[in-house]
Symmetry: C2
Subunit: 150 residues, 2 copies
């Protein structure tokens, strides 16, 4: 039995994903399987729609952008991946389901995970009519040479 995804296991991440797709009610179509494989078979990573499109092409296959966007949205809805909002002009998704935060190197567009245990966070109490959905922490860094520029 597949337990809740508290630990990331690269060896089974793909098959776990397929099981979760099946359970969620969306069909494990060819395109969804290809995308799940690319997303989950290479360890923890961050992906954009364009990345995925290119990686599919590298394998001499083709999935349309429309399908890639739809699939990313569906995978997000069923909790398979998580959207990281770091940059206004590009959606980036994260295949790491463990609780974690992000380090973002602004000049390079590079994202690195920080395990939650390295961050100590106490937020104020939440009103009864609302529920906590997520806490995003983005530590924004710049390279030193860019400091001089600004």
């Amino acid at each position: 039995m597949v337990s809740s995804t508290t630990a990331y296991d690269p060896m089974s991440a793909y098959s776990t994903a397929i099981k979760r797709i099946e359970k969620s009610g969306i069909r494990p179509t060819k395109q969804r399987r290809i995308l799940a494989k690319i997303i989950f078979d290479k360890g923890k990573r961050h992906i954009s729609a364009e990345n995925l499109f290119d990686e599919v092409k590298k394998e001499d296959r083709k999935i349309s952008m429309a399908t890639i966007y739809n699939t990313l949205k569906q995978f997000t809805n069923i909790g398979l991946i998580r959207e990281i909002v770091v940059d206004q002009n590009k959606s980036i998704y994260c295949n790491n389901n463990q609780s974690h935060y992000h380090l973002y190197i602004e000049d390079e567009g590079k994202i690195v995970d920080i395990p939650t245990k390295n961050i100590d966070l106490n937020i104020p109490s939440i009103p009864a009519c609302l529920q906590l959905h997520n806490i995003d922490v983005i530590v924004r860094l710049r390279t030193l040479k860019d400091k001089a520029k600004s």
Copy 2:
């Protein structure tokens, strides 16, 4: 003498802003003064380009969208306002220069400030070649009725 903006003073926020514009080297043109007034004369708030456009119109004036976008970017560059990245499809800016985090009610697009002192944050040490630019903390909330929906 205008000290660094560690405290928000609604009474002088506008004139402080004008002084900082002058110091920064960009011209305090008519449009920039109007926008600075709207941004800083109504207490702490969050603003989008569209908001500003509408508020200018309400005063029976007109500033083009291009100018509003340019101005928001310039004000951000000189540190007058800060961009909050909460939503992929809309840029939102914050006129609060004090260190603080955000509570974001996703279904309503509503943003509320949380003073930094209410959050306890320890981040890992930063490599020498990088400098900390900012730490964004976004506490994402949902209304309970939307929980049922998902």
